[in-house]
């Protein structure tokens, strides 16, 4: 961690330009950092790069937990008649006479969803890469507030600990679905998971939201205020645009989930009736009157829908970056890419009720939301076409990151298209809450976002750890995962079209849902195999941190600023002055240029042979 900063125009932890007189003090300050206690260097660090790694490793931990839970319930769905006595050493009392407890089954699906959506794909994905890439790519020494950034991770950490503890309590973790619809989530009489498990879920989520907001404020502030000289908004890499808009979405929507959680806590513990009315349960008529369970759904999905874009947009940004770098071609339609991100961000706030077409909501409202929902397909289509056009006539290097990016585009298309079916209120009457929905969102936001995450890790690993991930293992990992994902989720559509309801412990009770026992076995087997395939990545990841091939400064011949830092950037990122930016980030294979890439910090005056008519330095 060589933090040698002779001069710098921006100070880590501060905003704007430092007075010349304080430079010397700051210098000393940094030298102190150099010798700081390991506890503050690796644990309570305020360095955005360390925090990013903390988010990443916590995310990997949660992904293993979330994946394990899904393997458990896929066992039940694939082999509903079998006994799972062999699991009782792990699951204890949740295996009753060899059978999985149905309430525990619901807890498994609930926690799988919660963990994957929030802890892995929100914190693990956006937390990792927003933290890692924003200062490096905009040319800043660190986040606007390193301290708040550290708090953001530690709030996430405490939230994780609480959620993890809830897996082991007597009454079991929350079991009302990851959407925690009341009254089920409000009444312990209805399901034991709604007792202490739900309380812990709500406390954990409240802390999680605090973490998100602390992070989000920081990302936004950093992008707006700490861009280096010459880095105008129209020269930002698409990753930064994606992280920036993601942070805005989070900042505007997470508080609404917080309010929903708060009102639910009131209903659960203090006898209010925001979401409860006319309930007779466990031989008793409750006093709650006048509340509306549907109100909760509006509040939940007001976050819940932007949330799926919070999950997918960082992946979109990184994939755009990686496709351009490895196709050795500028991203096609840079401005259209930004425009479509803006369009998606804006529209994501006005489509939430498409999750609620059949809740008894006014049908007119349904029409409005159907209209808005199908509009959002347009910017998504534009993005897809632009990615395809980026590949067209490229000179493609199949790095592992590139494979995952191409896989991302494929999964995003496959999953996105079925959204057109579900967004149509008339068809949703039949498809709502069936496995068609499950297949749809696992492709378009689950697997796609995971592919974005993998692509990002493979691509930026050299900058994170100074070493390369093993490419061969990466290839095996990619092909296993890519094939596995399709084997799991393509047949799931068939099951869904046949109307199989989700969150069913078994379908054996219904003649209508009896025809696909073999297909469900197949899906389960594929899911469990694909899950075990991920351990190749985990091995590769931890092995390469310590033993991987040493990386160079810019192993992918990329144009963005993070590759101008040393192999392992220290605290402060650039040992000398922060480079200034002169051009957009996608000058790949420019006609007339000596090499097939021109980094952003190369002035036009040095590239006379390749400059386009309107390109010249304004200040130099």
């Amino acid at each position: 961690m060589a933090a040698n900063l002779p001069t710098h125009s921006q100070v880590q932890g501060g905003i704007g330009v430092t007075e010349p007189s304080t430079t010397h003090d700051e210098h000393l300050h940094h030298d102190e950092h150099h010798d700081q206690h390991w506890l503050f260097k690796y644990v309570f660090s305020q360095d955005h790069k360390v925090i990013a790694k903390q988010f990443l490793i916590t995310g990997i931990f949660w992904a293993i937990i979330g994946g394990t839970l899904s393997s458990l319930f896929r066992l039940q769905l694939g082999w509903p008649e079998s006994t799972f006595e062999w699991l009782s050493p792990f699951l204890g009392k949740w295996i009753e006479a060899g059978k999985l407890n149905p309430e525990f089954y619901l807890a498994l699906v609930t926690m799988h969803g919660t963990i994957m959506v929030f802890f892995v794909l929100t914190a693990g994905l956006s937390g990792t890469f927003s933290n890692f890439l924003i200062p490096l790519q905009v040319g800043a020494r660190d986040m606007a507030s390193g301290f708040m950034n550290m708090l953001s991770y530690w709030f996430f950490f405490i939230s994780s600990v609480i959620m993890f503890i809830s897996l082991f309590i007597e009454t079991g973790p929350a079991a009302a679905g990851w959407t925690i619809y009341p009254p089920l989530s409000a009444l312990p009489q209805a399901i034991p998971g709604s007792g202490l498990g739900m309380t812990l879920w709500l406390v954990s989520m409240a802390l999680f939201i605090v973490s998100q907001l602390l992070g989000g404020v920081n990302y936004i502030t950093t992008v707006i205020n700490l861009r280096t000289r010459g880095m105008s908004m129209s020269k930002l890499p698409l990753t930064i645009w994606a992280f920036f808009l993601t942070a805005i979405l989070g900042l505007l929507s997470f508080p609404v989930l917080f309010s929903a959680a708060l009102l639910l806590i009131f209903d659960r513990s203090f006898g209010t009736s925001f979401f409860l009315s006319d309930i007779y349960i466990a031989g008793q008529a409750l006093n709650h009157q006048g509340g509306s369970p549907i109100l909760f759904q509006h509040l939940f999905w007001f976050l819940g829908h932007p949330e799926v874009y919070i999950v997918i947009m960082p992946a979109m940004g990184m994939v755009s970056e990686i496709l351009a770098t490895n196709a050795r071609k500028p991203i096609f339609g840079y401005r259209a890419m930004i425009g479509s991100l803006l369009g998606i961000s804006l529209l994501s706030f006005v489509v939430w009720a498409h999750h609620m077409f059949v809740t008894g909501m006014n049908p007119f409202l349904g029409s409005v939301f159907m209209f808005l929902t199908l509009i959002i397909a347009v910017p998504s289509a534009v993005k897809t076409f632009n990615w395809l056009a980026t590949l067209w006539r490229g000179n493609i290097r199949f790095t592992t990151a590139m494979l995952f990016s191409i896989g991302f585009v494929s999964l995003f298309i496959s999953g996105g298209l079925t959204g057109i079916i579900l967004g149509n209120a008339a068809i949703d009457i039949q498809m709502h809450n069936t496995y068609f929905v499950v297949a749809h969102f696992h492709l378009v936001m689950g697997s796609s976002a995971f592919f974005g995450l993998f692509a990002g890790v493979y691509h930026w690993f050299p900058k994170m750890f100074g070493r390369m991930l093993d490419e061969k293992l990466g290839y095996i990992h990619f092909w296993l995962t890519f094939i596995g994902v399709y084997l799991v989720f393509m047949p799931m559509h068939y099951v869904g079209i046949a109307g199989f309801p989700r969150r069913y412990y078994a379908w054996t009770g219904f003649d209508s849902f009896s025809q696909f026992a073999d297909l469900n076995k197949f899906i389960s087997a594929a899911a469990i195999l694909a899950f075990f395939g991920q351990f190749i990545f985990i091995f590769n990841f931890f092995y390469s941190i310590f033993r991987g091939r040493r990386a160079t400064e810019n192993p992918w011949n990329s144009t963005t600023l993070e590759w101008t830092t040393p192999v392992v950037p220290g605290h402060g990122n650039w040992p000398g002055e922060i480079p200034a930016v002169y051009r957009w980030p996608y000058d790949y294979s420019k006609p007339g240029a000596a090499e097939d890439f021109i980094p952003q910090n190369v002035p036009y005056s040095q590239t006379q042979s390749s400059n386009l008519p309107y390109e010249r330095d304004s200040e130099d």
């Binding site: 006319d278 009157q289 298309i413 061969k472 790949y588």
Partner: protein, 356 residues
């Protein structure tokens, strides 16, 4: 002991894997392939994409056709046919897009794989192309929205005046059904009156409730609009009848409804499918707890005459439970005096008014 064995096998496998991995690294260093920037693996991956497209596409097509017959629950309602048409039309449109975009994705990946000495085409944007592929999806979407909206307003529009009315109430973990009886009016219910015998919470001081009857199974007439009134008495449930293409949440405190017209009697459907045990089923489709997956109710579609005959045979709740009726009279007198009554009435009125 077995667990130990499994553990041992796993550890050995890991060791073998680790050794193989080391050997692979060493050989690649030895052969020099680790220093080459773009090796043969680039070509292998490009070919794999094509293989993936061809084999994957074929497998998908095969499995889709193979399972097509099992995918479609036979349709038994008027709007079901229109919905099905809309579904498969949309499927064809997105299917075409799916195939074309994937061909582009994988063929480009293969065709434009790295070649020594070639340079990528510097092609940052083209307004004309971008406008075209913004406008075309917009037009297609507009068409789909319009078709969907037309169907949606028809399905969710008011039920015909002469609809057969019945009420389904979800509870953990079964469905309760009641019919309005001779007067075609569902009586007032109040959740505070629910007990083991009075599961619906009949407020028998309401005259129109006296002839209401509770049924163990649902009978509906073929070819006649049926208005399903839906409520829940504990948590959320959802009425889901895949054959009728019907789905609506059951929400405590907020009665909902859905109307449809059955087109085939149970017997006709049994004959058509060649399955004498076939039944139309109603499933719960909103997570509601332990028994969620077993919340089933059979629905029997009768010829109109049979339906009328069945209807006439049913005995009203009050007739079957004279003791409830008797105790109720005293109880309800008391209720009126307490403030509870006004609260109860206030809550109950929307339920009854929710009739069309």
């Amino acid at each position: 002991m077995i667990a130990l064995g499994i553990l041992l096998v796993l550890v050995l496998l890991l060791v073998v894997f680790g050794l193989l991995f080391r050997i692979q690294i060493l050989t690649s260093i030895f052969s020099g392939s680790s220093t080459r920037e773009i090796g043969t693996s680039n070509r292998v991956n490009a070919i794999l994409f094509i293989l993936f497209m061809v084999i994957g596409g074929a497998a998908f097509a095969y499995s889709f056709i193979e399972n097509y017959g099992k995918m479609n629950p036979p349709i038994a309602s008027v709007h079901g046919f229109a919905m099905e048409r809309l579904f498969w039309t949309t499927m064809i449109i997105i299917g075409i897009v799916f195939v074309l975009t994937h061909i582009a994705l994988f063929v480009y990946s293969y065709k434009y794989q790295h070649k020594e000495g070639r340079r990528a085409y510097f092609f940052p944007h083209n307004n004309k192309i971008e406008i075209i592929w913004t406008v075309i999806p917009a037009i297609v979407m507009a068409g789909l929205v319009f078709a969907g909206w037309k169907e949606w307003t028809k399905i969710t529009g008011p039920a015909p005046k002469d609809s057969v009315v019945l009420e389904v109430m979800g509870k953990q973990f079964n469905w309760l059904v009641r019919y309005p009886g001779r007067d075609q009016k569902l009586g007032v219910v109040n959740y505070r009156l629910i007990d083991a015998t009075n599961e619906f919470g009949f407020d028998l001081s309401d005259k129109s409730g006296l002839d209401d009857f509770v049924a163990g199974e649902v009978h509906v007439p073929k070819g006649h609009p049926v208005l399903l009134k839906i409520r829940s008495r504990d948590v959320l449930h959802a009425v889901y009848m895949p054959h009728f293409r019907v789905q609506m949440y059951a929400v405590p405190g907020m009665p909902t409804k859905f109307w449809f017209t059955p087109t085939k009697t149970t017997d006709e459907m049994r004959a058509q499918l060649g399955n004498p045990k076939f039944n139309y089923e109603l499933a719960c489709n909103q997570i509601c707890g332990r028994g969620h997956f077993a919340m089933k109710l059979n629905i029997i579609v009768d010829e109109p005459d049979d339906y009328v005959a069945w209807y006439a045979q049913q005995k009203s709740f009050s007739e079957q439970n004279p003791d409830v009726l008797a105790t109720f009279k005293q109880k309800s007198d008391k209720l009126v005096e307490t403030e509870n009554a006004s609260a109860a009435a206030a809550v109950v009125t929307p339920a009854t008014k929710a009739s069309l």
